[in-house]
Symmetry: C2
Subunit: 201 residues, 2 copies
């Protein structure tokens, strides 16, 4: 019993290309023809490796969140809640306007509303965004315990807020907002977190 013919393409490189297509056109807007061309393979290879279109999206999302996870850890490592928010939102302003990638965020561009048969896609993307929010919330819980945030502060609400601003910035980036515009938004947004911080001397 042999092991069969080996794969001729690099799965991770192909995923990077697929990620970009989903990022630019959304799940429903991306066609298998576009995906296979970008990935440099033919449909049967795609289906053998990823199952179907939705499987490919999930694999691309896994790769995306893995890459972003590294950066997110740096964000969480900031010393204060305010610094976390600032590092996160300013970083997002830069990332979402990085010409190396399509504008905006894959977790938003992937698909906010989908047609019948793809209802699962927006749900999947929301779940990934929620993971980020949970990380932030845990960090803000710690900040409160450390006395870095006011007693009246609600860590979950703050995390939801920062997450909401991130999403809004992503949509703006995808519709043409430049880096400076996003930084201005981030700058204003951080002040709300600062207002929840103790010792604002």
């Amino acid at each position: 019993m042999g092991m069969g013919r080996p794969r001729e393409f690099d799965a991770e490189m192909a995923l990077d290309q697929a990620m970009e297509v989903f990022w630019r056109h959304g799940y429903e807007g991306a066609t298998i023809a576009q995906l296979t061309e970008a990935m440099g393979i033919n449909p049967p290879s795609l289906y053998a490796c990823f199952g179907n279109k939705e499987g490919l999206l999930k694999a691309a999302l896994d790769r995306y969140t893995k890459l972003r996870g590294v950066w997110m850890d740096e964000v969480i490592a900031a010393p204060t809640a305010r610094a976390v928010a600032e590092r996160m939102l300013m970083g997002i302003a830069d990332k979402q306007t990085d010409p190396a990638n399509p504008p905006g965020c894959l977790l938003v561009q992937g698909g906010i509303a989908c047609g019948t048969g793809s209802e699962n896609v927006p749900f999947e993307l929301a779940a990934r965004r929620a993971q980020n929010e949970d990380q932030l919330r845990d960090r803000f819980v710690r900040a409160k315990a450390e006395g870095d945030l006011k007693e009246s502060a609600d860590p979950a609400a703050l995390a939801r807020y920062v997450s909401a601003v991130s999403v809004g910035m992503g949509v703006m980036a995808s519709s043409g907002a430049d880096r400076e515009a996003l930084r201005q938004v981030a700058d204003v947004a951080v002040q709300a977190v600062a207002a929840q911080s103790a010792d604002r001397t």
Copy 2:
């Protein structure tokens, strides 16, 4: 030269139904079959009245922005920049979770990323969102002139910020966030505007 057979359906009522379908499934996710069924008409009537699918979307957007314009005027009429932000974001928290409509905002759900041939749709939606932002900016310019906002405040940045938060809240609503969660976000978000306000006594 007669005037021809009169239309048997009410265009505005039909538009309301079409609006809901686009709102729930997005432009690309909505099919002509779904639209005609919701509108209670057959395809030829749709095309005779609205030209094509994109024409129908634009008509639905016109109706949506017209309805929202009334509410927006009330928001703008609030006495201070802070009150404007509060009225806007709290109102949005309620509207985006109103069970009478699909969750979120049509200007976001309509389509953030689209496939080849529909690139115009995200652009169209962005233009409508920009109109809202312009209204806010003008109001904040006035607030600054009135001494309601600090000298250092940037009205355009504040307007972009409020607009970004609105969009983020819409995405959250569409992925299941409840009214209370959105109100918490709005509550935090308003504090950033408050931080730009003068006379915070």
